[in-house]
């Protein structure tokens, strides 16, 4: 086996990839569910669309924050560690 494969940098990059890759799963599911339910609600009650849309974006932001933390970990692994 090439000894370079076991270099610390390998695991650093692997960890960065895993961090953002796995960390994006949860927010993706969360945002998908939020959007699905919001669109369903808009279809049932089009008059409330504006209200639902604004709350939907807030829900997106809260779910997305976790993905952003994964991104921060990934950035830290690549550029700082």
């Amino acid at each position: 086996m090439d000894p370079q494969i076991l270099a610390p940098e390998t695991f650093k990059l692997l960890g960065a990839g895993l961090a953002i890759g796995l960390g994006a799963i949860g927010p993706a599911i969360g945002i998908g569910l939020a959007a699905a339910k919001a669109f369903e609600a808009m279809g049932r009650n089009p008059e409330a669309s504006d209200n639902i849309r604004t709350n939907m974006i807030l829900a997106f932001a809260l779910a997305e924050a976790l993905g952003i933390f994964a991104f921060v970990v990934s950035i830290l692994l690549i550029f700082v560690v």
């Binding site: 997305e64 924050a65 952003i68 550029f79």
Partner: protein, 347 residues
Amino acid sequence: MTSNQISLGHGFTGRFTSMSQPLPQDGDHFERFPQVESGFSNGGIVDVEHLQIAANTAHGQVVSGEHGADHADSGLHVVFIPDNIGSFLGYDFSNTLLTSVIASVFLVAMAYFVGKRITSDGVPGKLQIFFEGLVGYIHDEMAKILGNDRVTTIAFPLIITLFLYILVANWIEFIPGVGSFEVKQELSGGKEKILHLLRGPNADLNMTLALAIISFVFIEFMGFRTQGLAYLKNFFNFSSPINFFVGLIELISELARLISLSFRLFGNIFAGEIIVLLAITLQAIVTTWFVGLVNIAQNPLADFFGALFPFPVPVMLFEMGVGVLQAAVFAMLTLFFVKQATTAHQH
């Protein structure tokens, strides 16, 4: 086959950072790169430095121009920390800061220009109708969400400024030529470094963190202004153990906004720059496949192919959409948090 070549037939092999050789110091931007004889016919070999020069000339934002300097041995080099292009009153002045100053000057000039032409007693022109419609629409939407006229009056200028400023800052890097200006910086030992003069401000974490701090301070200010010291009860509540821990979680999530607001904007814009860089790299690779010559930087046929199939253009269009979306998201989140802070807690 020299060591600074990568095989395209089996995908990218090897590590980018260990593939290229130090570049010659003399000559101009193009002629500095060594000619490589092997082309597509010779096993699909592309010189990494030609990919780099293609990326450099088309979009100078992400690839560093530090040829011949201390980073001479890197291929595709993504710059995380913006370059210092000089100093102003003893402080370092980075290229992102310069671009953000240009964005500010543009907005101020626009406000002056539009404000001068607005009449309240004459017939309004197209410009006035457009801007009044835009500002009025945003004001009405905000008033609907906040449901409090006094808070709306205070929060409206900041939130529309955040939106317009982030929008202009995101779009300014898509003006042709913004990535093309370069400055030379003398290093110790007679070396020189080529830096880019302009770079998208929100691809710099300092910028987005500053915006997030402004937003955070404003949210807390609005909370204290409407609720007084009772606002602190949301975070430090000793009435029961459960309320205490709920308050603690509220406090942590309040502080986490600084991270999430700044990194959301930064991550989207920075990742957008990297995606544009990758599209340009793909352009170089595919051009080399079709044109069949290695030195694509000097080949007119490569220019022709690039004009026919510009891969970065749809990507840039998408990034412009991301730019307006992220500006809207930043402004709207500030608005929601202001609403949260100004609405009394129901307990």
